[in-house]
Symmetry: C2
Subunit: 482 residues, 2 copies
């Protein structure tokens, strides 16, 4: 283990973080509120820590192996979250360190679970910092899921490793650089476009920017306690729905769209499945809302489109309290969608559509194999046969995911949460959604969870965000051996 | 598809069923109650139907292929359940056909979920019939899981196919006969021994027989509305716990024990894991009961031993209302155990321990594979490497099981059950346990479930009992093609 190269990269990450803190300080200056000092001192402190890590290790060879990559990724998220608490703790915007850490890691993991009861009272600089943590997390995830994880064989994207735009696929370093540049440009442009469209829809610039930052990262932090329900304009609801849909799409597909290769999109099995899941869920929910609750047709369709996309893409914005939907139990559809998540290679969390799809296809193939034991019946995807090692890796992932979900639900239950709330909090944290069901539902928050529970859920957010293996690898047998 | 050999076997099954109805009629005669006519006419009617099926098809070639085997197994359980409703419907012991079918298939699948609110008011013959359906179901499962399913590559037992005592492993017919004879003898002897031990503990003969029939089959029907809580004797609780433990054990292991080969038992990975799960759960629960609820030590240990074994082996007997256990959420441990189930090759339902164990080992191996991508890292079991096809089959099974669980919970929620009850009813039906959580908890029953829900849960019991694939195969693509 070459620990010094790890520290070097962590130093760079902290320097980047301090730049974003500085942006937030500028927002604070523009609004002239009492968070100027908090944000500029945080930026300074983080910059000093980052510089120290960088300077002390700048002479090490710039080679990152597999084990170092695992460690950088996991520690990167943890370091960013620890330093990211400083702006909240200064001046006591969030007085408890546990709550501040929960809010920050929920930001960097693009979860969006909040402990805040007073969002609108916070100064603009702090709210901007809260939104930018999610946007930074989204940037991290794009690089991670498309450029880093496939090379260390984790995540659903190894399927597409050959398709990733970039010069080589053997060396991590040049690949990351090139791929990151192209995809960040898309991410950045989409954020700008959404901001302008939201502004045109009547939001002020500040809200438009913050909501765009947290839409494109499928984060879901809002500057309003009532989330998107605060904004009554149907145009805003549809615009955000559309950008959540985009944010839950594989960024390589968006890259192809930007190159005009639309054919790639319509031939992509995962994308078609993504649309099918949304359409099917929206049909069931909107018809139920119209028939059972007599909700006007447009409103019923709008709310179901918004909530289905918001939950499936693991964003977590809300326009309505879906727990009150009739018939009772309709929200269980949303709970199931929390497990599915968006497409691999997007900023969304959850199990990911490609995995669900391949496993269902494999179960289906298993029937054929039972009937014809001597035939070789492969699982096909995008017209290619999928190697059984990949199927095995995906199965191991999903089983581990559900195993962690079950055990964690038990742990949260034993901390005193009622059954729905325990299940909801775990599903929403592990899947990086944010709002869950029960006492952590769409109009509630996570403030009431016991301290140990908050730390445990923070761990689940990290675990889910980094595709389980990346985090667990560090404690796996043999990791620390040479 | 050779449908006539299927009908022939179904005819034989109905003839066997009519014999057990006749036994029940004899019990009715002994007690001189008003169910004599109901049971003897049911026996006659079922015998006529069985004979017709037998005689009309007795000249067909006695060759059963794979597809015929799937059909016989699934239709066998359905036919037995349909004819098994007749004793209940006569005289209106259970007036509704839906309820009667639910109670019968819950018996034959050894689930033990009941719609009865008045168990003690029923005549002895009917109660005996109710118990014997579970015992017959247990007999069926022993043959099925050890002799039939491994040959058609379904179920966890294909791992042990080579170890199954019996002359050959290529031809279904002679193998079934030999294996069935040996294992049924064990099943029968154990039932007798338990009956005698329960009688010695103070039960009357009738209750001792009925409870032994439903213990050895891990069925869980009791002749008392309060289940085993009716009997206050600690001796009875421990005796039943012990026999539930045995009933959840692979019958091939019990066969080895009967031959004095104890070494086989202590070298069996699944059996050791089975014991470990029980011991760990009992420790957590009994300490919690002692510390939080101030329950006397012996009682706390007894209740936790009883409930852990009862749920894990999917029997479903109750000595206490585990939903009231403190700290709140302690029962979630039991909910998790509902998914695990007993050992493969026992009469227990659920996913089965060997599958859970292999999947956890495979997930663990996956970490090593990620660190050493070029090394071949097999999953080991009983000191042998497990073929990746078997791992793949098991993974497909578990994912299908959980997928069915999630979708079914949604369906039951939308039928109006609250979340806990929906989850509990589905877990308890699919896993063949009986009592669940929420409104189908240990002191409740299934009477209040809507009609459509009862049919759906009946289907889940069948699906779970026959290891999913056996039932779903019949509607799989290509099954009905030649």
């Amino acid at each position: 283990m070459k620990i010094r190269i790890v520290l070097l990269v962590l130093g760079v990450l902290l320097l980047v973080e301090s730049i974003f803190m500085l942006f937030s300080a500028i927002i604070a200056i523009i609004y002239g509120e009492n968070d100027i000092l908090a944000l500029s001192l945080s930026a300074g402190f983080t910059a000093i820590a980052g510089s120290l890590l960088y300077l002390l290790n700048k002479n090490v060879p710039r080679q990152v192996g597999k084990k170092e990559a695992y460690l950088i990724v996991t520690l990167g998220w943890i370091f960013l979250s620890f330093f990211g608490t400083i702006p909240y703790i200064f001046n006591g915007y969030i007085p408890s360190f546990t709550n501040a850490f929960f809010e920050t890691i929920s930001g960097f993991t693009t979860t969006g679970a909040s402990i805040l009861n007073n969002i609108e009272e916070l100064p603009h600089g702090i709210l901007f910092w809260r939104s930018i943590t999610q946007w930074m997390g989204g940037m991290g995830i794009i690089v991670l899921s498309i450029a880093v994880l496939p090379l260390i064989k984790v995540g659903g994207m190894q399927l597409f490793a050959a398709e990733v735009p970039g010069p080589t696929k053997d060396k991590i370093h040049p690949k990351i650089k090139e791929t990151a540049k192209r995809l960040w440009l898309i991410y950045f442009v989409l954020t700008i476009v959404e901001t302008i469209l939201l502004k045109l829809g009547g939001m002020n610039w500040f809200d438009a920017v913050c909501h765009s930052l947290t839409t494109m990262s499928t984060g879901g932090y809002s500057t309003k306690q009532a989330s998107i329900a605060y904004f009554t304009s149907p145009y805003i609801h549809y615009t955000i729905s559309f950008f959540m849909l985009i944010a839950g799409t594989n960024f390589i597909l968006i890259y192809f769209i930007s190159k005009g290769k639309l054919r790639k999109v319509w031939q992509n099995d995962e994308f078609l499945y993504y649309l099918k899941i949304i359409i099917l869920s929206v049909i069931i929910i909107s018809i139920s809302l119209i028939v059972w609750m007599n909700i006007p047709t447009e409103l019923a369709i709008r709310n179901s489109v918004f909530q289905v996309i918001s939950i499936l893409t693991t964003t977590g914005f809300c326009t309505t309290d879906y727990l009150l939907w009739q018939p009772a139990g309709l929200w269980v559809i949303l709970l199931l969608l929390m497990f599915v998540g968006g497409m691999a290679g997007s900023t969304a969390g959850g199990i990911k559509i490609v995995r669900i799809q391949l496993l269902l296809r494999n179960s289906y193939s298993e029937f054929k194999r039972l009937l014809h034991p001597n035939a070789i019946i492969p699982v096909r995807y995008n017209k290619k046969s999928i190697n059984s090692n990949i199927i095995n890796n995906i199965q191991a992932f999903v089983i581990l995911y559900l195993f962690i979900f079950f055990i964690s639900s038990l742990i949260m239950s034993m901390m005193g949460l009622d059954f729905s709330s325990a299940v909801g909090a775990v599903a929403a944290s592990l899947g990086n959604i944010g709002p869950g069901i029960g006492s952590v539902g769409p109009i509630e928050n996570y403030a009431h969870i016991p301290i140990a529970g908050k730390w445990f859920l923070s761990f689940l957010m990290l675990l889910g965000r980094l595709e389980l293996f990346t985090v667990l690898m560090i404690v796996a047998p043999g990791f620390w051996k040479n």
